[in-house]
Symmetry: C2
Subunit: 212 residues, 2 copies
């Protein structure tokens, strides 16, 4: 954060202070992500988050301004890693159908870690509320749904996806079914990947995918 990350090139003196801070911050973030995924926002107890990370609430309140800020940071962090790990995979697919199926498979694999259901848990918890965390989650979710809707429209234009309900509704169901299936399977490799792909293909109105 502060502009004190400057490090003289020749010196080997490690910036222990900054490193230390960064380590605790990521430890707290991971712990909070697990906690949010497991218990949701309201049930999340900050003392337990800190303990699980090996610190106390003092450290937490030093790194984050409060619970809200912590949750927002977690959401942002999860979103970032998701786009890096899954979104990238989607981009390098030849067509919209391949992209959507890759998204499903990638999401299943991404969710094998314990941070799986943080998005759906928070979205459910804040649905129809005005909490800033809920708004952020909603915003991220909308972005994903919109992207899926665009892919669906593209697939329909080139004939690879059959017609059906409005692309927006299909995209909503696509994301919902995908998340639901993956959460229900709770990282039961290797079936999670195939079943996620099946659910995704099904929502799109495609025939059962040949693979595996």
């Amino acid at each position: 954060m502060s502009p004190s990350t400057i490090q003289a090139s020749g010196s080997r003196r490690r910036s222990t202070q900054a490193e230390r801070s960064a380590r605790t911050r990521t430890a707290l973030l991971q712990s909070a992500a697990r906690g949010l995924s497991r218990y949701g926002y309201g049930n999340l107890v900050l003392e337990q988050v800190a303990r699980d990370a090996g610190y106390t609430r003092g450290a937490l309140y030093h790194q984050f301004t409060g619970k809200k800020d912590l949750a927002l940071a977690v959401v942002e962090w999860v979103d970032e890693t998701w786009w890096r790990e899954v979104g990238g995979l989607v981009d390098q697919q030849p067509g919209p159908v391949a992209a959507l199926i890759a998204l499903a498979r990638g999401h299943a694999i991404y969710c094998r870690r314990d941070v799986a259901s943080v998005a759906m848990a928070l979205r459910l918890e804040f649905s129809g509320q005005d909490h800033p965390v809920g708004r952020e989650v909603e915003r991220i979710s909308k972005t994903l749904v919109k992207r899926c809707a665009r892919l669906i429209n593209a697939g329909r234009r080139d004939g690879s996806i059959p017609p059906g309900p409005p692309a927006k509704a299909v995209a909503l169901a696509f994301v919902g079914a995908l998340e639901g299936a993956v959460i229900a399977l709770a990282g039961q490799a290797p079936h999670d990947e195939l079943l996620a792909a099946r659910a995704a293909a099904g929502v799109l109105g495609l025939d059962s995918p040949a693979g595996t």
Copy 2:
């Protein structure tokens, strides 16, 4: 509850006391069901539940022994109505595939009311916990999954469902995808029904259903 439901056959004197009690009880149940679906168990505020039903916490604590008891009653009530409205529909289908698709469509329709996501919300909230409400929800969920697994096995035996991952995993994904899709669509009739059926068929490995 009490054995005072006795009513002299000839007498027309309506048991207004019992009726009144029953009305408030169901009003509180409905309000609590909405609340649980919206906010989950931990975030559910009993005063708001009572207010939404037109009463105060006094009435609530008169009808139920506490929050836990209220939640259990809601879960039982939702489960009961679900089996009556959806489960019955499933039973009268000719084959396992028809039964599973009917289940999907029926669930979508059932969830058009605001009690949609009470099951998934509570399951998420209590996943990996030891709360009695969580145990009950888990038990109910397992029952449904087992039933789906049996239908899947039956369908595989008669060839109407292609092979794939273990029936148990498929059933888990089936229920999960179904719930996820329906919640995401949030009762957007009429597409919810079709898309639920599509997701269901997809998980089973069936080709896209012809209907609509």
